[in-house]
Amino acid sequence: VKKLITLSVNGESRQVAVEPRTTLLDALRDELGLTGAKKGCDLGNCGSCTVLLDGKPVLSCLLLAVEAQGKDILTIEGLVQNGELHPLQQAFIDYAAFQCGFCTPGMILSAKALLDENPHPREEEVKEAISGNLCRCTGYTNIVEAVLKVAQSEKGTR
C-alpha cells in the first residue's frame, strides 16, 4: 500500500506516494522524474545511483525512500545553480572525464561530497572517494585529474 511521504530534494519539498519497499532510487527516477541517478546494478555494487544525503554520498538503490525523509537529498539535477555549472561539472567537461556518461552523475556527487569535506585532497583521497563508483569507459585517470584540478583551483567548490 502506498504511503505519502515528503522528501526534500534539491532544496524543494516534494510529496511522493511510495510503497514501504520502494527504494530512494526508484522514487527519484520513477515518481519524481529525476533520472540523473542511474540504476547500474540495483545491488549497491556500481555507484551509478549515488546521491548526497545531508551531504554524504549514499547508494540510493540500497536506501528506502521512507528512510530519506527529513534529510536533504541532492541529486545531479540540483548541482547547477543560477544556470551555472558546478566547478566539478565544468571540470568533467574540460578534462574529458566522461565518455558514455552513465556513471558520471554518481562520480560527480561522490567527488562533491569529498571536496565539501576536504577541499584540498591528495590524489589517494580522491581515488578513495570514488572507489565505489565503477566506470567502464574512461579508465578513471581523467576523472581523478578533473577532481584534483577543481581542488587546486582558486574558486574551489561552493
Binding site: 527516477r29 547500474g40 555494487n45 574540460d94 556518461g101 581515488k127 567502464r136 579508465g139 581523467n142
Partner: protein
Amino acid sequence: MKEYSVVGKPLPRVDGKVKVTGQADFSGDIRLPNMLHGKILRSPHPHAKIVSIDTSKAQALPGVKAVITGRDTAGIRFAFVDTPRYPADEYPLAIDKVRYIGEEVAAIAAVDEITAAEALELIEVEYEPIPAVFDPEEALKDGAPKVHEEIVPTTTCAWQDWGVSRQARPFKVVNNICATVSMSYGDIEEGFAESDHVRQDRFVVPATSHAAMEPHVALANYDPSGKLDVWLSHMSLAVKQYWLAKTLGIPIGKVRVHKTFTGGAFGGKINLFPYEFLAAFLSRKTGRPVRIVLSREEVFTSCRLSHRMIIDIKTGVKRDGTIMAQHVKLINDPGAYRGSSPVVMYLAHAFCNPIYNIPNWKHEGVGVYTNKAICTPKRGHGSPQARFAAESQLDIIAEHLGLDPAEMRLKNVRKTGDVLPNGDRLDSCGLGTGIWRALELTKWKEKRGRRNNRGIGMGLAAMFSGAAYYPFGSAAIVKLNPDGTATLFTGQSEFGQGSDTAVSQIAAEELGLGLDNVILVSADSELCPPDLGGFVSGGIFVSGEAVRRAAADAKQQLLTNAAEILETKVDDLDIGNGHIFVRANPEKGLSLAEIVRNSIQRHNADSIIGKGFCKPVPEIEFYPSLSKGTGRFTDAYGFAVAVAEVEVDPETGRVRVLEVTIADDCGFAINPVSVHGQLVSQAVMGVGDALYEEVTTEEGRIVNTSFADYKIPGVFDVPEFRHIPVESVEPKGPFGGKEVGECSRAAVIAAIANAVSDATGVRIYSLPITPEKVVR
C-alpha cells in the same frame, strides 16, 4: 601537414553539458504515458524439453496485461549471423526445448514491475531435463548430446533481404558444429620444413562480460497506425531496425529507433536481443508502450559474452627469428546459439593478417554449440584471443632463440605499402615506428629479462577501419540554415566513443565553421540516413567520411553560389570563419548566411543541402567470404603497440600492472582527447581481461552475476599510462583518420601476459592470469 582549425583539436565534447547535468537521456530514462512493464521468464535448466507451460494463473493476476510463450512467436528467427550458409538459429522465446540457463521462455507485460515479477512466479513450466554438454571438445565427440537438430530457414536470409541473390540453405548440425573456417596462403608444410625451430602451444581464453555500466533496456510503442517507436541500448541502429521490422513483419520505414545515449556498449549491445523484440511484440499485443529493463544478473546471463576460444598455434621460424610458417587451429564455443562464431573465427585471422609478414599460413576454426550462454563481439572481436596466443608464443620462441622479443617483432612486422594475401594494401602502418618509440620511452633494454619479480612485455594488434556488412554503407546529410549554421544528419550512435563530437568536427572543418555552428541530429532512424559505422568499427573511417563528403557537397554548392555573386571562379575562392572569400583578396567575401539567402532568392528557393555516402571496401560486391577468408576485408587498419610493466608478488602470485604504454596508429586524430580517452579505456579494460575477468560457469550456470563477484577494474587498479601518438595519414580516411576504439585492448592483454612471464619465468597459457596460476 595542412593546418586545420577544428579537426585535430582537443575540443570539449558536444555531449558534455547534458551528461554532467544528468539531462542526457538513456533509454531507461524515458517513460511514456500508460506504459507497461515487461519481464521475462528464463530457463533454469541448461538443456531440457519443455513439456508444458501453464500461464493461466499469471494471466489471472490483476494488473497483468499479456503473457506470451513460444507458441505466440513460433516461426520467428533472428541471429547475429544470417547468411545463405548459416541461417538464423535464435528464437525470441524457446519453442520445444531450452538450450541454456537464462534462455527466454515466456514474457509478461503488467502495469508495474512488481506485478510483472509476481506474475512470472505464477507461470508453471514443466521441463524434462536432458543430458547437456558444456565442454566444446566433448560436444564434438560422436554421441554427445545434440544442442541443435537441423536448422531449417523459415524466411529469406538477411543477405537476400539486402540484395544478395543467394538463398538460405538448411544447416545440418553434425557433432554440434555451428560454423567452420579454413583459410590458407603459401605452402604451410614447406614453411615448416624450411624452419629451424617449430613450436606448438595451446592457449585458452574464457568468456568475459562487456559490463557496460548501463544495463540493457528497450522501450517500445506500437501505435494503431502500424508504426513502431523504440528506444534501445544500441551501438548502431540499422541492424536493430532491420531485425525488428523483419521479425515483426512491419515495413522498415515504420520502425523508428529514437536517439538516446547508450551507456557503454563494447560490442555487447550490437545484435538484436529477444528482450527488444519482446517489448515490441508485447506493445503490439497490448496496444500500450512496454518497457523491459534487464537486471544486472540478466545482463551477465543472457546478454551475450565475449568468445571462449581454445587456440592451438604452431609457428616455424628461422634461427634469426624470421617467421616462416604459422598454423592456427581454433575451437570456438559460442554457447547454445551460433552468436557471432563464424565472424569471430574469421576475424581472429583477419585482424592478425596485417601485423607480421608470414609467408606460409593456415587458419582453421570450428565453432561448437554447447549448453552455455551465447557469445557476441567484444572490443576487438577475436583479436584479444588471437593476439594473446600469437604474441605469447612469439615471446616463447624469442627466448628459445636467445633473441630480444621486440627485435624479433621488428624483424617481422609489416610496413606501409605492403599488400596482404587477401589484396588489402597498407597505405599507412605505424607498427615499426610504434615499436621503436615504445622501446625508447619505456627503457625496454634496461628493464627486460631481469627476472626480479618485475617484468616488461610487449604486444601488437591491428584492427579494421570498417568492413562490408548490410546496409553496406553510411550516408550523411548537411543542411545549411539561413543564418549560416549547418545541421548535420548522421545515423551514428553515441555510446561513449565520442562520435557525436568527431562527426561534428569533421563537418565543421569541411565547411569552415566553428564547432558551435554545427547542429547535430544523430542516431534517429527516421531523421537520419542509413549508417553502419558503429557496427563495423568504421565510426570515423566510414561514417565520418560520409559526413565529410556531405559537407564537401554542401561546400561545393556554397562555392558555386558565391562565385556567381562575386563574379569570379570557384577555384579562386576559399572557405573559413563562416565566410567564403577571394583567396587573393580576403577582404572580398560573403558570409555563409548571405550565400544561403542568395541561393534561395536567385534559384527558386533552392536551399543548400549536401549529401555524402561511403561504402567500406567499395571494390567488393557485398562481403568477403567468412569461411574461406577470400576477398578484400577493409580499406585501412589501425595499429597498436602496447608495452606493459608488471610487478609480481612471489608469495601470493598477485600481479600488479605498474605501467601501460601504447603507441597507437589511428591515422590522423580527429579529436586527440577522444583518442587518448579510447586508449586509456582499453589499457584499463585490458588489465581486467589479463588479470581477473572471467565469467565462470558450473554445469552451465554462471556463478558470478554481479559486480561483487565479477570484478572489473576500479580506480585503484589503474596503471600509469603513457600514450605515444604514432599518427600516420591514411589517404582514404577523413582528413587521414582511421580506427582507434578497439585495437589496443588486445595488444595490452598480450603485453601484460608477456610481462608476467618476463617477471617470473612462468608462462601462463590461459586467461585470466590469476594468482593461483602464477604461484602454481
